[in-house]
Subunit: 294 residues, 2 copies
DNA sequence: CAGGCATGCCTG
DNA sequence: CAGGCATGCCTG
């Protein structure tokens, strides 16, 4: 069991509007020194999405987070863990999954197939009410071990200021957006990883879940971005101290034809399973025969 | 017949090195006013590829160019015209055209199929020696009329400073590069169009052509760049006054499998031709029968 | 290096 | 909206 500390200083907008995170190094370098430039993140360099908003009141929010499942901060935990609030995720009954339906969730694969830029409704269940100040974070990681340390970002094409999707948006480089006026875009100071948070609202009276809308802003095939590398998204419920109190991750494929691709992958999955069964069956048979003969 | 005037002021490097063009508006706006910014071209805005080299001696080179084939400067002429020097283009015998050969030229299609970033040898023939100060320009245009007015550029991914191909290169946004230390990258002040020029060297004694190496720095499929839109390249021979004295254009497809794609397109072409022949044949037959019957 | 898959997108 | 092409790239 290891500790994973994160310190963070954020500037918050006084009003509830789309909020712009500014990450500042702990030694207090003045963000205005890098106004107008866009610096790539790694190692103590200030990252600013919106230099224009440096008039914001600085609010010091220190978060210390203890994660119990990974040795390194750079590798976010992906294990599902309902925790004390019974946190889980579901997807509503989607429209009939045509070839190019905007999104579709596969139970067998536990995988979401979704168009780029589509607002996809995700249901967050809790069995016990969370405390005030609880937030819901969403972060993407590459699934394959060879890429898991690389930060997931949008491709250059889609993150460029000229791209229509970036008009009036505080986080053009973030793959995942949450369609809420209270959403908060962060770049972790230590790991450089992107995430988006919203205040978690407990399910309304008589409801078992609260729905939030998420958008995925690149295709899985985007050159120089995801580049055909599968990703997972990790939803974490975090209390006011930044402690993780629940987690749910699932694979996501952002593509032009979610329906088609789901069908294909489910077929592959079945064939693979059938094949394993056959192999396993043969092995058992051999063992059995040996046993009988001896 | 219309005149198409172009005035241009360029800064030239004193030494023969890769040369950086700086386009200045005729009213003499100081380029240093835009140092450090990269402004998109259109309409009187200064474009600079390399603000760092503003210490260059300014050399005033006024070029007035009369083109006789197009009404608008924005639509470059593409007609082949050997002119008084007997200007033409050819390709040497390439390596056996395997599926993924680096480049291959189709005679039937008069089209070059080439890998991205490959130095492709192009032979420039002249039957009569050109004068001192003659240059060879290469420019790309979209083939289809609906895109012909759009300037051909590299995609954002490939033109970004982080792309390896742009290390130490003066013109990251230019699709076409000429592998010569004397090459010159220009952005036309009026049209915004990119081109690369080299001093034209007459064929060596006993030779009929001079070879230059050209590279194409994006795929035809690059999203936000060529975006699967076919292009032509136009080679123009220009005298010291900027007058066009010869022209040759051909289609180019920049792709991952030049051999395969050439084969496919030639097959299509044949089928199409056969089909037209058949249709034409039938028509003739009908006409003939009518003639005989009357 | 060829076969063929993967995946965005065009066409009917 | 499904069929199927186009085209980069992976695999043997
Ligand atoms: Zn993208
Ligand atoms: Zn490109």
């Amino acid at each position: 069991m290891t500790n994973c500390k994160r310190k963070r200083v954020s500037f918050h907008l006084p009003k509830r509007r789309s909020i712009n995170p500014i990450e500042v190094s702990p030694n207090g370098v003045n963000p205005s020194t890098s106004v107008g430039t866009h610096t790539d993140f790694p190692n103590g360099i200030i990252h600013m999405d919106f230099p224009e908003i440096s008039h914001l009141q600085p609010v010091f929010t220190q978060q210390e987070q203890f994660q119990q499942t990974r040795a390194s901060c750079a590798l976010p935990a992906t294990d599902n863990w309902p925790g004390q609030y019974g946190f889980s995720v579901s997807f509503g009954p989607q429209e009939k999954p045509t070839k190019s339906t905007a999104w579709t969730y596969s139970e067998v694969k536990d995988k979401l197939y979704v168009n780029m830029g589509t607002a996809c409704p995700v249901r967050f269940h809790t069995t016990h009410p969370t405390q005030r100040g609880t937030i819901l974070r969403c972060m993407a990681v590459f699934t394959k071990p060879e890429y898991v340390t690389e930060v997931v970002k949008r491709c250059l094409n889609h993150s460029s200021p000229g791209d229509m999707t970036n008009e009036n948006h505080p986080a053009p480089e973030h793959l995942i957006r949450c369609d809420s006026p209270q959403s908060h875009y962060l770049i972790d100071f230590n790991t450089g990883r992107h995430s988006v948070t919203v205040p978690f609202e407990n399910p309304q009276a008589g409801m078992f879940y609260t729905t939030y809308l998420y958008k995925f802003m690149c295709l899985g095939s985007c050159v120089g971005g995801l580049n055909r590398r599968p990703i997972k998204i990790i939803f974490t419920l975090e209390n006011e101290h930044g402690l993780c109190v629940g987690r749910r991750s699932l694979e996501v494929r952002i593509c032009a034809c979610p329906g088609r691709d789901r069908r294909i992958e489910e077929k592959h999955f079945e064939q693979q399973r059938d094949h394993s069964h056959k192999v396993l069956g043969k092995l058992l048979n051999v063992q059995l025969q040996r046993y009988v003969m001896n």
